[in-house]
Symmetry: C2
Subunit: 426 residues, 2 copies
Amino acid sequence: KINSERLWNTLHETCEWGAEHRYGENPTDTGMARLTLNDDDARVRRWFATEVQKLGCSLSVDQMGNMFARQSGRLNSAAPMIAMGSHLDTQPRGGRYDGILGVMAALEILRTMKENGFQTNYDVGVVNWTNEEGARFPKSMCSSGVWAGAIPIQKAWDLRDIHNPSVTLRSELERHGYLGDIACSSDPATGYPLGAHFELHIEQGPILPENNRSIGVVRGAQGYRWLTMTVHGKDAHTGTTPFSARQDPLLASSRMIAASHDIAKRHDALASTGIIRVPSNASTNTVSSQVTFTLDIRHPQDSVVHAVQDECLKAFDAIASQDGKGVSFDWTLDTDSPAVKFDDNCVASIQAAADQLVGPEKSMLMTSGAGHDTVYTSKHCPSAMIFVPCRDGVSHHPTEYCSPQDCRSALGTQALLEAVVHYDQF
Amino acid sequence: KINSERLWNTLHETCEWGAEHRYGENPTDTGMARLTLNDDDARVRRWFATEVQKLGCSLSVDQMGNMFARQSGRLNSAAPMIAMGSHLDTQPRGGRYDGILGVMAALEILRTMKENGFQTNYDVGVVNWTNEEGARFPKSMCSSGVWAGAIPIQKAWDLRDIHNPSVTLRSELERHGYLGDIACSSDPATGYPLGAHFELHIEQGPILPENNRSIGVVRGAQGYRWLTMTVHGKDAHTGTTPFSARQDPLLASSRMIAASHDIAKRHDALASTGIIRVPSNASTNTVSSQVTFTLDIRHPQDSVVHAVQDECLKAFDAIASQDGKGVSFDWTLDTDSPAVKFDDNCVASIQAAADQLVGPEKSMLMTSGAGHDTVYTSKHCPSAMIFVPCRDGVSHHPTEYCSPQDCRSALGTQALLEAVVHYDQF
Ligand SMILES: NC(=O)NCCC(=O)O
Ligand SMILES: NC(=O)NCCC(=O)O
C-alpha cells in the first residue's frame, strides 16, 4: 500500500521548483511555470536523478534528455522494463499535477516496493519524458515522439524557444547536461526499448467528476492536429482608409477563428485558438500587416479531424476574399497526432486494479481528450493510462487541483501500482 | 516661390534619423520608425532647433516638448504668431511624409521668405508638436491636446511606453532635455498662444487620387473614439474542455471584432482593430485567460460615432454570453476626438491659394479622416489644413509616398505659403 502522505509531500516539495501564479494562502496554492529545460526543470531533474539512485535504480538519459530509472526484477531477465512514465515540465500557467503526478506516483511506487521488500518479476522503472507540453518548444509529446520514431530528432533538437528564437531545445539540453548518449529510440540495439508503458494522469476534463467516478480506465486518445495560420494584409491608416480599400488580416483572422469554432461544433469536434499575434509594432490606428494564430483541432476519429480541417481551410479561403481587397494566408502543420487505441492487456490490467479498488460503479472506460506520452509509446510497446479526476476538470490553469484522496491514497497511485504488478505477473 | 529641391533634400536628409523598413533600392526607399522621443526623434529635434535658429527665429519649448520657432513680423505686433505646425514623430512602420512634410514645408517657407527678404505683417512660425501619432505613448495628438486644455498634462506625462511600462513620456522628455519651462497651454499669461494654425499634410487616403485632385482644402475632421477592450475568460485545456465548459476570451474577441466591423459598415462608419494581445504565456493547447484589443471608431458626425459605439457594446454583451460559460469584459476610452469644423477664414485663405495655384478642377473641399494637431488647435485659434495626395492613399506604411510634384513644387508647400501670406494680410 502506497504511502499517500509521502506522495503528497514529495509532489508539493518538488513544486518549489517552478511555483508561480499564487491564487490562495496555503503554501500549495500556486500554479506552476516549469517550462521544459528552464532552470527549474533542470533542478527537478537533478532531484529526480538523486532520488531514483538512492532507491538503487540505474539511470539512463537519452539524446532528448528523457530520463529512464530502472529497478531490477526478481528474474534478472534481459526483457525491457515495464515503465511508468509521464513528464515534469508544465505549461507557463500550468498546475501542480499535469504530468508531475504521474512521475511522483511512479517514484512513490518504487519507494513502496523497496520498503516492503517487494520485487517484480521483470524490471520496472520510471520515465520522465522531455517537453511533453510543447509550450516552450512548440511540439507536444515531443520526446516520446522522437523515441517512437514519429518525430525526427533533428527537428526536435531544432525547436526554438517560442519567445527567444536564439535558444533551441538542443542548446538547452546541452546547457543543463541533459543531452545523453543513448539514442532516443525504442530500438534495442541503440536506444531504450520498453516492455510496457503505464501512465497515471489527471483527466484534465469534466467527464470523471460529472459521472462521479474516481478512476478512468483510458483505452485510447483522440486525434489532433495543430496548425499555425499566417494571414497577410497591408498596413493602412484606420481613419483614412475606406473598408473597400483594406486588406485587413486581423479582421480576417477574427472571422476565421469564429468560423473554425462553428465548424468544429457542427462536427461535435473541438477547434481552439490559444495564440494570436500581431507584429510588435502594431498600433491602434493602423491596420496590421500580418496576423499569426494557432488552430488546435480534435476528435476521437481521425476522419473527423481531417474533415474539420478541410472545412476550415475552405471557409478561410472564402473569408480571405470577403472584406475589402482581400487577404492571403498560408499555414503549417505543427503537430499531427492521430487517434490511438491502447493495448488490450494493459487496459485489462488497469481495469482489474480499478475493479478491485473502487468497483465498476466508480470507474469508467474512457478516451483521452489530450495527447500524452503514452500515445507515442503505444506505437512501440503495450501501453495504457489511468485517469484521476481533477477539480471541475480544470487544467492548464494555476488552480488545477487533484485532491489527496484521488491522488495520494488507495486510488490513482494504488491503481497504478496494482496495474503494474498485475501486468508483471501476466 | 519655394525651392522644391531644397525641400525634398531636407526632408529626406532628416529621415536619416529613424529610417527603417527598406522596400526598394533608392536611398529614400525606406519607411520610418521615429517613435516619439526615441533617440532619433531627439536627433531630429536638435537639428530642427539649429536650423530655425540659423534663420533668426526664437525657439520656445513647452512642458510637453512642443517646439515653437518664431519669425518676427514687420509690424512688431505683440499678437500671437501665425503658426504652421505638424509633427516629426512617426508610426513604428510609418512613412517619410506623415507629419514630417508639414514641418519641413513650414521650414522651407521660412527659408524662402528669408532669402527673398520677405516679411509678414505679423509674426509667423513653425510648431513641432510632440507625440502626434500616439504610437509609442498611446494617445494621439497628445501634446496639441494638452495645449488645447483637452488632455490634463499629468495624464499625458504619465503615458507609458507601450512596450516598456517603466518609461513614461515625461521621463523621456527629461532624458532628452525637452521638458521646457513654458506651460503647455494657449493661455497668453503662462503658455504659448497662437494667432492661427495652418497644417500641410498628406491625405493618407484615396479621395484626392481617386478624384484626380492635387490639393485638398480641409474644412474639418471626422470624430473618433479609441477604446481598449479587455475580455476575461479562464485558462482551460483545448483538448479536454468541452465547448460548453469554456470561457474563451479569444473566441469572444474574434466575434466582437467581426461584429464591430459589420456594425460600422451598416452605419457607413469605420471601426478597426489594430492591436490584439493574449498574455505572453499563451500556448497552443490552452484557452487563454484574457485578451485585450483596441477599437477605433470614426465618422464625420459624432452622433454616428456614438451610435456605433453603443451598438458595438450591446453586441459585445450578447457575444459575451454566446459561447460556453460566457466571458466578461470591460473597456476604457483612450481617445475621444469629436468631429471639428475648421475656421471659415483660414479655409478661405487656403481656397484662395488653391484656386490661384491649380484652379477649382484640381482642388476640392474635404473632411479629414485622420486626427491631426490642427483638430486641437482649432479649439483655441483659427485653423485649417491643406492635404496633398499620397500614392494610392497608402499611409502608416513604409511605402507611403508623396511625389516631388505634390510635395515639393508649386503645390502643397506653395499653397501653404500663400495661404499664410493671404491670412497674414487678412
Ligand atoms: N496532457 C497534455 O496537456 N498534453 C499536451 C498535449 C495536448 O495538448 O493534448
Ligand atoms: N494623421 C494621423 O495619423 N494622426 C493620428 C491620429 C489618427 O489616428 O487619426
